[in-house]
Symmetry: C2
Subunit: 372 residues, 2 copies
């Protein structure tokens, strides 16, 4: 953050695209008192966002100091270029989830490229319309900026100003690194979860009762919108293809080893080779999991899990957490494990390991069924 140019707040900002992201940016800037003008080709979205206080409507020839382009990924580059070529904005940034493709398409002349710095607020939601917008959508989130050697300090400083005005923390990366990272951390997990969930389509209903919490966790994001993810994946097509190929190759290798094992005619050697292949894959997954930053990332804490049986009655969870709070134990996270169709479940409380014995003792004393 220290190497970002410090610039004055722009006197006027145009937000182009009054969807969830654009309207949220506009609301955050308005909160700071900025003069924000809005535009959207969809008249009703524009009216809604404007009525929500996201800014006044843009007169199409009105010049601004900064434009924030928040239109679908595949039309982002053309919109950025048009604003600069028509000199409607001094500098331009955007919020699209892929960065290399718009950057390449914008860089047709160095005078255009100087005035654009790509941006991507990594906020976990991409669509939802202006009524879902919130001024604090980006608070505490990373906001990637992808300047090039041609980018002016003014363009970079203003893009960073937007990120900071929205409460996000700006991170500078190359567009190529950003796209490679997002392919593996966001686009790949989505498509893998979708492919896994897709396998459930043809199964007999009775079988599905055998799915547990692990399955539910893996497929939770499989509810995402197909058209949205089609746009995101195509905008980052090369990196997503490469990431998909890598996972598919690992799964295919495990499948081949297993297909040679287990059958009536399989040898002990084939069983051993398959076991080694699977153990290697799961061990690599262990190592990958360990790389994820924890909540308190500097400390790389591991939490202790305290499973407690709770009934399905109203207020049970509140009673449980109140008991934990009364024992002065901070619950860092929790997971509810469902037993489908059953009136009770298990709640796993995640706490700092040194506080687990206190928690177990306090809960047990109050009659909770705790497994430690």
């Amino acid at each position: 953050v220290t190497d970002l140019p410090d610039v004055d707040a722009p006197a006027s900002v145009l937000v182009l695209g009054a969807g969830l992201l654009g309207t949220s940016v506009a609301l955050a800037l308005r909160r700071l008192g900025s003069d924000v003008v809005l535009h959207d080709t969809d008249r009703s979205r524009l009216d809604t966002a404007s009525a929500l206080g996201a800014g006044r409507q843009w007169a199409a020839d009105e010049r601004v100091e900064l434009a924030v382009v928040a239109v679908p990924p595949l039309v982002t580059a053309a919109t950025v270029r048009s604003l600069i070529e028509r000199d409607l904005a001094t500098t331009v940034t955007d919020v699209a989830s892929a960065k290399a493709r718009p950057q390449r398409e914008v860089a047709t002349s160095s005078s255009v490229a100087a005035r654009y710095v790509g941006g991507h607020p990594v906020a976990g939601r991409e669509r939802g319309g202006p009524t879902s917008a919130r001024a604090d959508l980006f608070e505490g989130r990373p906001w990637v900026l992808t300047p090039t050697d041609e980018s002016s300090d003014l363009a970079l400083g203003r893009a960073a100003w937007v990120a900071q005005a929205c409460g996000a923390h700006a991170i500078v990366m190359t567009a190529a690194d950003h796209d490679a990272a997002l392919a593996r951390l966001s686009h790949l997990p989505q498509l893998v979860a979708s492919a896994l969930a897709a396998q459930l389509v043809g199964l007999p209903s009775a079988w599905l009762e055998l799915g547990g919490q692990g399955l539910r966790d893996v497929v939770r994001i499989a509810r995402s919108a197909p058209e949205l993810w089609a746009e995101i994946a195509v905008a980052n097509a090369t990196e997503v293809a490469s990431a998909l190929h890598a996972v598919a190759a690992d799964l295919t290798a495990a499948a081949a080893a297993l297909a040679a094992a287990g059958g009536v005619a399989a040898t002990a050697n084939a069983d051993e080779a398959a076991a080694a292949a699977v153990a290697g894959l799961v061990a690599a997954g262990n190592a990958g999991y360990e790389r994820l930053p924890t909540k308190h990332s500097a400390e790389h804490l591991r939490f202790a899990e305290v499973p407690v049986v709770v009934s399905d009655a109203p207020g049970e969870l509140a009673r449980l957490l109140t008991a934990a709070a009364e024992a002065a134990v901070n619950v860092e996270d929790l997971r509810v494990e469902h037993a489908p169709g059953q009136p009770m479940g298990v709640v796993e409380l995640l706490v700092r390991p040194e506080t687990a014995p206190t928690l177990v003792e306090a809960l047990t004393a109050k009659g909770w069924r705790v497994h430690s």
Copy 2:
């Protein structure tokens, strides 16, 4: 459940294998007052389980009415056969996570096959040793039984008796159906999550800060034990291989479509074909997700999500849930979304849709920052 033979409780039960599953079964049966004898080739595990009250130690020539085999999957069949051939148990069941392979290996003579019915308590944990055992480990869980045409009513009735004595609900399936179902609902999700997490191994640390809650959900089970999953996958090798191939094929098809799109030389047709491939995969994932039974499976409820901003202070979660309980709204589930390194996060409360407005109003009135 109604078509299971009703039998008397066996006068004596041998539990072979004093790990997590075996000791938990033994504790559940002891709780009912059954005469349980225990054995394990690991002397210290046996002593521990016995000291925990899981039963007295087996004299190796002592005959029992029922044996429950809880040894690793790949030695299950040989153990079952040996007990029957040496006539140490009238009937035998087991708890291994794959059923076709032990069944095939047991069925060497019909007199042996008649006395064995395979079982699999689907409890989400497979290992952990006797000190993690709990009499209620299987409560409310499915417990699959896989009788064959050769199985005696006595063998089936006693296997069902064990499941019911452990508080599980018995489900009768063929071994082939069980293995096909578990491959897709348990073994495949594990290996897919592992393969995804394995992709994180080589990434620069700074990139990992861009991973969100979706990634965390998908890779949560990637922490599982490699050797355990190697055994489970090899014991069900053919079905797991088939399930892995199907997912890998879907991912490879999406990768191929994306590899042809997005580049400098890509045509609009290639972009459209890739978008259609991705949208198709994500839509199939939507359809698969919808097939999962909900907590109240008969009703197939969908919950409304109420996201609330909470600080990282002790007792905040308790205060929030107490406020929900005071508004007489039952929180069906919740998710904590972490902002790594940040002092606050968002908690998503899942409630019945008709109660969401009441909850939002009550929480807002008490000063909570709610996004609806």
